[in-house]
Symmetry: C2
Subunit: 415 residues, 2 copies
């Protein structure tokens, strides 16, 4: 079963926001066996919306549309859908009750435009929006399903989970898609491909292998499509096992998880604890870790020591070290990581100090110079890395490098 996602609104097209909705929706749909043929972002222009919906309906059976359902004049999705289906807009009692409820909950006066939000094309079924006033809409026309939802992420997400996904599952006979991902660290895409070329050549036609490289990591993803779940799962596991046997030395995980989640899982299983001392990464590593449920079992927290003073006061970096070697140095990184271990009393710690840029570089230490230290009670590893001049990338690459180093240390320093 194939679907397309259409996102309506100029904000993506002018680069003001990143489309996070579509990836999330695609993940949810893949999980229930619906493959996404295409994701399109289009402007809130009547003609463009009509064309995009009709093109999608020519390719797939399920069309999911987000955006353009607000109460203001630039939101034209609803009336354009009514035009597409050649039906009238009518007030829907369920949708109106929801609008009234929301306004009474927040104790604010309702405006005429909000009442208009309860109007929907007469051929739709309303999907309740418990977090907002714009109703979701479900159309079943000539064997195709059209679903329209608001673009506000938390409104769309609840609507998908509570309404759309269960309804799709109950109304369709869905095929099976099995994905299996292997996370590798420290070897390039082409080397990996060469090492497993014969395995790749022997894959049956219903299994695809993709290489997804990112910042020193390559994900290998096997995807199997078919009807027989047990068979697909067996075949995917068989080939995944072959690949892992071949390149085991660079495999960090045999599931689709991030490196920080690999670390959290390992540390939780082994009752190990972690703290951090972040300078140039400014909290990003901690954020990566703490976005995962259950991270508090492993993660104590730490210091964001952006200033010299905080490096001294929270982490105990010596004033002389900072004066003699500078904040971005092997010595400071080492004292930071030892300070974190000692002051925060964790089993492991990591520290990052560098020049994220765009300012602050010197001839000796250009923008992109980063020192990373990881440590346990009996081992400390410090490394200098040199990245480019893009601040956000330097932050991200520093974080991933630090996590990769920590993962290596965990497996090399015993439990």
């Amino acid at each position: 079963m194939l679907a397309e996602i259409i996102t309506i609104g100029d904000e993506i097209l002018i680069g003001q926001i990143v489309d996070t909705n579509s990836a999330w929706m695609a993940g949810q749909l893949n999980d229930i066996g619906i493959r996404i043929k295409q994701i399109s972002s289009i402007s809130d222009d009547r003609e463009h919306i009509l064309t995009a919906i009709s093109e999608a309906a020519g390719r797939v059976d399920i069309i999911l549309i987000t955006g353009g359902l607000g109460p203001t004049k630039d939101d034209i999705t609803k009336k354009t859908l009514a035009e597409y289906f050649n039906v009238k807009l009518v007030e829907n009692k369920e949708a109106l009750d929801n609008v009234l409820n929301i306004f009474s909950r927040y104790n604010r006066p309702m405006l005429e435009v909000n009442k208009l939000q309860a109007q929907v094309p007469e051929n739709c079924e309303v999907i309740l929006n418990k977090n907002g006033t714009a109703p979701g809409m479900w159309f079943n026309v000539k064997g195709k399903i059209y679903i329209s939802m608001p673009g506000v992420p938390h409104e769309m997400m609840y609507m998908m989970e509570d309404g759309v996904i269960p309804k799709l599952k109950s109304s369709l006979k869905l095929p099976i898609i099995i994905h299996k991902t292997i996370l590798t660290i420290g070897e390039g895409e082409s080397y990996l491909a060469e090492r497993i070329a014969d395995i790749e050549d022997s894959l049956p036609s219903f299994i695809k292998l993709a290489y997804l490289p990112k910042l020193g990591q390559v994900r290998l993803r096997l995807s199997a499509y078919g009807e027989d779940e047990a068979l697909l799962r067996n075949k995917v596991n068989e080939f995944s096992t072959k690949i892992v046997e071949r390149i085991g030395n660079v495999v960090a995980a045999e599931e689709d998880i991030t490196i920080e989640k690999v670390i959290l899982n390992y540390m939780a299983e082994n009752n190990l604890t972690l703290s951090v001392a972040e300078s140039c990464t400014g909290g990003y590593i901690s954020h990566l870790i703490t976005q995962h449920a259950g991270s508090s079992k492993v993660f104590f927290g730490g210091a964001i020591s952006y200033s010299y003073e905080l490096k001294e006061s929270i982490l105990g970096v010596k004033k002389e070290t900072l004066a003699k070697f500078g904040a971005v140095s092997e010595e400071t990184a080492t004292e930071m990581v030892k300070g974190a271990l000692h002051n925060f009393k964790s089993d492991y710690a990591l520290a990052v100090t560098g020049i994220a840029g765009p300012d602050g570089g010197t001839v000796d230490k250009p923008v992109g110079t980063v020192w990373i230290a990881v440590a346990s009670a009996n081992k400390t590893v410090v490394k200098k890395l040199t990245f480019g001049n893009k601040r956000r990338q330097n932050i991200e690459r520093s974080a991933v490098s630090a996590l990769n180093m920590l993962n290596t240390l965990l497996h090399n320093s015993g439990k």
Copy 2:
């Protein structure tokens, strides 16, 4: 001048990664007066690629394609482009030199597949990829420009900045697009729309107004399209001034910046400093702040006090407070923010403590309960917020709420 962006690769379609490239590219293109008609993500399937390129070429004059240029077998963009243009693949000297350079720089043996990366369709001009082995390609066929780039963000970004954007500017006569954004906080989309309805009705046809709501903020964006830059700028400013005069009480910024950047700008101008004490937001607020260049002028850093122990040792929260009221309480939030102010010696501080979920909730304090405190030497404001049960959203909404509160405090507590 209109363009479309086509992203090739299954990883977006299965929800494994978010397409951040397209928004960034769209922003760059808009800046030089190229409007984006559509952004499409498609699978690395020969037929689908051919259809998508030909559909886009039917709508616009510039087609930018990313992805599918790696050395492995799942990357078929290049040969599909050769098929589309009905030309052969030939080895390109410039591209080969670049591959050789990169391998010698990293001192790794070159593989046959990497040498194949220097092959390009014979009708293209190569765009140098200084960060990778896959060359960019520029095609000028029948009055339309086709550009193919790798999907790896930092490779694509350098290629856009150094190659594509300058080349587009020099080879096209580009029209003008002027955007002006007003950031508002604390008033809903429909209330704002009602307050400025008459201004919106009086906009000339070449100016569009869009409402972009997100987490307690609404961005109002005026976009003007035309030839005469001075006229467009004057008209946009005239209407933006009218809007700001009308709704000035909720306006946080008259440019397209985030709330943390509003705060950083204000604090830098007024020589004010900031530190944080983050519990449930786990470093996310610090990350939002430190992603901005120049944040070190204002931001000292702070504590990520995930554990009870760190709340006590770094921030000086009293053991009795934690025991009596719990970590998620008005009292703990207040002691955290005062601890940050005192220990880190900043002019302002903010503290967040809550239950991000999905576990850890109780009847009294369900998942989504968050206490936020912001403080200066002479004023402390503490607030309880209640969100839903989605961990990442709770983190994001807590962060934005804390920043909104800090912004309000900054403007209410004198300088």
